[in-house]
Symmetry: C2
């Protein structure tokens, strides 16, 4: 199996998910030329706004492989990851990202991906969700505790 | 209980989590002046790179309240959300976001939040994780299917 097969599978999953009542998104994670995990959007069926295809595929791959670092894996997503999923791709340290539809296509059918990308670039004061920094000094305690902990597991 | 109590609880959770071997991050979700869910970072203990405090708190709140829309809730996070968590905050449609430490503080103790914010603003071609758009036409099938489905549950 090659690149086209993996993307075709992500797209097949996205189409199947619409037929099953979910959002039109699918993703697969590949290690050494084999699919190790897949994900589809389950926001409405699982009442979970974080249950996007990429997040689900990443969580599943980590479970299957028993680790939180997927630097030996690639991800194929039927759509360009939203900021949440792109963040997850980076935290998982995936080695490569392929996507098919993009955020403009997603916007055209009513998904907020573009809007969230725009919000991220604004100052807190200009964002649609009112955002405020508060009690920074108190919170530094935990950061100092982390820095000074010789036994911490870094990630 | 008021704003200071909620943030103090998020910070207390972040400190407690370091003592329990996890990352220095905590979050609480509040509805009508009451905490309905909390979350701490469980990336290493759960082998899940998406298990950040805010994502965990949002997933828990949705589970407790039985819905994927938290527009009647606020979130207090001990640290400024990373792009993944900020995306989750937007998808959950939380009404308000408070945070204490910020992304610069997180960078100072070795977390990649700032780096991911920088990557998001770059063209695909310039990103550290090689990124490629591929097979867009094939993927449009799922989007058309979604658009034409009269029974879809929008989110």
């Amino acid at each position: 199996m090659g690149k086209a097969d993996f993307m075709r599978e992500a797209i097949r999953l996205s189409t199947e998910n619409v037929r099953n009542g979910g959002g039109p998104f699918g993703a697969v994670i590949v290690k050494n030329g084999k699919i190790v995990a897949t994900g589809v959007n389950r926001v409405t069926s699982h009442n979970d706004p974080t249950a996007h295809a990429e997040v689900n595929a990443i969580r599943e791959a980590c479970k299957v492989l028993g680790k939180f670092d997927l630097s030996d894996c690639e991800i194929y997503s039927s759509c360009e990851p939203c900021p949440m999923c792109l963040g997850a791709v980076y935290w998982a340290r995936l080695s490569r990202l392929y996507f098919a539809n993009d955020k403009k296509d997603a916007k055209d059918i009513g998904f907020d991906d573009s809007f969230i990308y725009e919000e991220i670039e604004l100052d807190y004061s200009q964002r649609k969700i009112p955002t405020e920094q508060y009690m920074r000094e108190e919170a530094m305690t935990a950061f100092r505790l982390w820095s000074e902990n010789p036994d911490k597991i870094e990630y």
